[in-house]
């Protein structure tokens, strides 16, 4: 179970970081969402993974740590709000900047810049 869990968190984090490095806003937003999922799962595991643990005292022999669950709930709510904000913001940026690139415009073509140098007409 631990191995599966670790792979899940790792793959999610990897995809999240990879997508965050893309140039357009949509992949970046998806990347942020994935990073959010990864972080939630990671937080959840910080109380150690164990099966059949009860969260209420006096109901079982094993207890699960309730605090990470509370932390994850808070993190999910905050993350959700933030993602909603960034979605709206990137739509606004698409309208304001006229493109969906994070930098607002295509990177300058370096070959053209070299050609149009002064005295090189």
């Amino acid at each position: 179970m631990e191995l599966l869990y670790v792979i899940c968190v790792g793959v999610l984090t990897f995809s999240g970081i990879f997508l965050c490095l893309r140039a357009r806003t949509f992949p970046v937003v998806v990347g942020l969402t994935m990073l959010g999922y990864a972080v939630n799962m990671f937080l959840f595991s910080s109380g150690r993974l164990n099966l059949e643990g009860a969260a209420i005292l006096g109901m079982a022999q094993n207890y699960a740590d309730p605090l990470p669950q509370a932390l994850v709930l808070t993190a999910i709510v905050i993350g959700f709000a933030m993602i909603a904000f960034v979605v709206i913001l990137s739509m606004r940026a698409r309208a304001d900047l006229g493109s969906d690139l994070v930098d607002g415009s295509e990177p300058p073509d370096t070959r053209k810049l070299v050609k149009s140098k002064r005295g090189d007409a």
Binding site: L43, M82, V86, L89, L97
Partner: protein, 511 residues
Amino acid sequence: MIEHMIIWPILLPMIGGLLMLLPPFKGVERYASRRIFAVILMLAQITIAATLLITVSSESPIFYAVGNWQPPFGIILYADTLSTMLVLLTTFLGLGVVLYSLAGEDRAGRYYHPLIQFQILGINGAFLTNDLFNIFVFFEVLLIASYSLLIHAGGKQKTEAALHYVIINLIGSSIFLFALGTMYGALGTLNIADMALKISTLSESNLLLAQIGGALLLVVFGLKSAMLPLHFWLPKTYAAAPAPVAALFAIMTKVGIYCIFRVYTVIYGVEAGELIDMIQPIIWPLAIVTIIVGAVGALVSPTLRGMAGNLVIVSVGTLLIAFALRTPQATAAAFMYLIHSTVATAALFLIADMIGLQRGKAIDRFVISRKLKSQRFLGGCFFVIAMVVAGLPPFSGFLGKLLILQAPSLNADKFIIFSTILLSSLVTIVAFSRAGTTIFFRHAPVRDPAKDLSDSPDLSIWQILGVVLLLVASPLLTLFGSHVIDITQLAAQQLHDVNMLIDIMRIRGAQ
């Protein structure tokens, strides 16, 4: 009554901000009632913060168990001299910002005043809490308010800057959560006092986890405080933000600095066993490079507000140098400089905005343009703020820098600190004189002087009031220097006394 007072700096802006969304204050046409209410709120917050500071500095630090869940289990608010001092600074800055924005900036968007209140709520909360996860929550509160304030009134530049700012801060929040998970996994608690107690008794594998968590936290706080190499977002964001918002943002980098001081002095402090001062060797070179990059940036920036943004980076570097010394004396000096630099940079952003308003299309770019309408007043303000920021006597920058220069005891440290800080001050003066000559002395030839000035807007009384309020704080800090130094020394002493914190929380032996 006094025991519940700690939570008021958080409750008051929250309730006030929410009330401003409701009928008596809602709507475009009722901006006047919103303005009055906002000023009253800020005055009330200043009163409360001042009372708290007086109580805490004359008696002892107090903690407040929210919901009466006692430490180490509940969420704890902790007011010591440091946090109350910074809350007072925030509310004072907030008053200046609100006054300045009454000139018309607040009418550009409907939710300006509530958002300012939420921003202050987040900043106050981050200063007052003693729980690492709660710091995260308050960070998010202040961030989401700052996202909205940044694009307040809209515009292409603002949208682009906001997009970068939001994305980089969302990634920062993810790293923060990873760090918190790691720390919780290692220590089993997120109460700062409890973490400080437990970190000395960790097993070897958990020690490694705690070290990783600490390093990740440094990335987050470094991002917030614009420490090199995480500073790239700052000049652009601050230059794009509306002026009063940029002035309020002056305290936001200081929130990051505060967290670095709090976490790495208390948790990774004297009690930390093997992890004592684990980040100090990293901070030391980074601080110096931060100052150099900020100073070079200030020299080459094409606009006054871009220059102000780079000067924020210089001040962050100066604070980090004082942090790297790790003595209570240096910490006290850092707090003095922190108060000064927050007020000074905020005033600088406001003055840059006023100058930009009167220069037509040139705004605050360093190009030859028409003469300013209020040449004398703005010139005077600019001269004063240049002396304040560069650290010339008789203003508070001098006092702050002097204290930092006095702090190191080793000769090798002294050499590096003297050369970096003094050179950065020199570069600051050069940058200011370059900016000042272009703005105030080099004008395009004018055919009809009377006509040329007529379409420049007049300065509003509120703008003047806001700027003067912030500017006057600087000589006052020098005038009452001994009191301020006493308070900062008390704050530093309480911060470094980890055992006192643990005793106040009554958690020793509780496990």
